[in-house]
């Protein structure tokens, strides 16, 4: 957390010598707090103060970036506990766990399947971020062979899971100039693990079952020169993990507590645990298995939670032509909330029937929310129909409104006297049936 002007003032010489170009040290301190000047403008700051000020300007949660040849996964740099306070920035990387005791061809097949996985959501292509290789064999040669096998089929960043510094070194040596993550260090192996991570410029996971245990280890490891750390709150229950994750983030953000100013990693063993990891603060999420039926909702949830609350995801209002509509084809109305738009557009497209889709400017809200907020009423719908010159495009003046706003049909008839107003289904999924049977 950044220091206030007063806190900075206390670290300055307080002689008001004016050499920095400001009349007083306090004035200079205020400018520093606002990041409008450089500390170097004052020639008299002590080394100790310099170090403290540099420390305070670093982000409260360190940015950890795992890099491979061509891909990068970032975690950390978060600034709030609750997304409505600003936004969450770096979506937790979703990694799939594999083990080195699998026959290499099976391992490659597994990795390849998850690596090529791609699923569409509101026009975004979602994928998994990388792989976590666990040393089940305990054998460095096997581990290194498995790393190489993964690299034959995937370029995504890696997490290497082993307690043994030798096995970790074997794995890291099999990678070419990458920034991998090693999991990890505990109170017994930390020194050698830190050496191994440092030698290969890897980030290192620190294990601990309490705030004290974690903080103590990160301090020791930092002193050995490894700065890129990730915390693993090693606790058995969702409740205990939630408490620790929350305390870690709160201490980092509110107290600027450096020993815990790192992103965390989670190993969820259930869909519920994976949900908590995404909602509450994990920076990396390692899944036990690759299951599309879990990965899909999880990636979508991650997308949702990490949406900037100040900027609802919207699509451009206008008339969208689906399946090449002709003048006599159906006209449907919806709002410009992107999820609403994509649900409706996908259904219409999937039905194979041509239609004109009128997307009204409802300030990025869904049908019901916009209606409740007065952003999707008969006036706005009529205005869209007029400003988009729909009457010139279609010959059959029949407008289908969402079932949730059936109450608007009377008013709309008054606003658009030339048009026939029809009430469509409430849910997008029922649109194809409606179009086939009722239009």
């Amino acid at each position: 957390m950044a220091l206030s002007g007063i806190q900075i003032y206390k670290l300055l010489p307080q002689t008001n010598c004016k050499e920095c170009g400001f009349p007083t040290c306090l004035a200079f301190a205020m400018k520093l707090a606002a990041k409008q000047v450089e500390l170097s403008a004052c020639p008299y700051v002590s080394e100790d103060s310099k170090a403290q000020l540099a420390e305070s300007s670093a982000p409260p949660i360190r940015l950890i970036s795992l890099k491979s040849d061509g891909a990068e996964v970032k975690a950390g740099n978060e600034v709030v506990l609750f997304r409505h306070e600003k936004t969450f920035y770096n979506k937790p990387g979703v990694f799939v766990k594999v083990k080195d005791d699998l026959p290499l061809d099976q391992l490659k097949a597994l990795v390849q399947q998850a690596d090529s996985y791609m699923v569409g959501y509101v026009g975004i292509e979602l994928t998994v971020d990388g792989f976590a290789l666990e040393s089940a064999s305990g054998d460095g040669a096997k581990f290194s062979a498995a790393v190489k096998a993964i690299r034959e089929v995937s370029k995504r960043p890696l997490i290497l899971i082993t307690d043994s510094p030798e096995v970790a070194t074997a794995g890291l040596s099999a990678l070419n100039s990458e920034h991998a993550l090693v999991h990890g260090a505990n109170s017994a192996n930390w020194e050698k693990m830190a050496d191994a991570a440092k030698a290969h410029e890897a980030a290192l996971v620190v294990n601990g079952d309490s705030l004290d245990a974690l903080a103590e280890l990160t301090e020791k490891i930092k002193a050995k020169g490894v700065e890129d750390l990730v915390l693993y709150p090693q606790l058995p229950t969702l409740g205990a993990r939630l408490a620790l994750e929350t305390q870690i983030r709160r201490l980092a953000l509110k107290q600027n507590f450096r020993p815990l100013g790192f992103p965390t990693i989670a190993y969820p063993n259930s869909a519920a645990a994976a949900t908590q990891a995404v909602a509450k603060y994990a920076g990396f999420v390692v899944l036990e298995q690759f299951q599309p039926e879990l990965v899909y909702p999880l990636l979508v949830l991650r997308q949702n939670i990490y949406t900037d609350p100040q900027k609802p995801i919207q699509v451009q209002p206008g008339v969208y032509e689906i399946n090449n509509p002709k003048p006599e084809d159906a006209v449907l109305v919806t709002t410009n909330f992107s999820i609403t738009y994509f649900s409706v557009a996908n259904e219409v497209e999937g039905s194979g029937l041509p239609a004109w889709l009128v997307v009204t400017d409802a300030e990025g809200m869904s049908v019901l929310t916009a209606w409740a907020a007065g952003k999707f009423d008969s006036e706005r719908i009529a205005k869209s129909v007029k400003t988009f010159n729909l009457a010139d495009k279609v010959s059959r003046k029949r407008l289908v409104i969402p079932g949730h706003v059936a109450v608007l049909s009377g008013e709309l008839e008054a606003e658009l006297p030339d048009w026939e107003i029809r009430v469509g289904p409430r849910e997008a999924v029922d649109i194809p049936k409606f179009m086939k049977q009722a239009l």
Binding site: A271, K280, P292, P297, A428
Partner: protein, 147 residues
Amino acid sequence: MANGHIVIPRTPMDVNLAKQLNILISDMGQPLERILMDPTTAAVGYGIEYGFSVMERLRLAALQGDNMTQFPMIVTPGFEAWKTKESKVGEGVPAAWGNWTERAINWETLTAVTLLESGADVVVLRHPESVKRVKAAIQELVAVPAG
């Protein structure tokens, strides 16, 4: 209200609307301990982030002493999840969606647990398997060790 029932004020994902309705209902004489508010929400992929943040804000306001937000929250993830295409449709959907039954249960479970993480006190579910999984999660969530 006249018969001593619990009243559930239901408002569309908005902190102020929720608060206003709570005030109106308590002004009508409903005892505060018989109000269970439903801030409404949406499923994963359909705007759950709005409900998530509204619930977090209601809970934070309650903890800061705003007594018109100090009611337990009830939400209906079962209803929300089971109206999504991902839960309802098994054929003609992308292969990347995975196994239909598991996907549908996951959709409901993820929606429910997300809402629990943002402060839900009562979650209304549909599928027995989701009930089992969400119950297990709740048990773990309340099992916070001392200290």
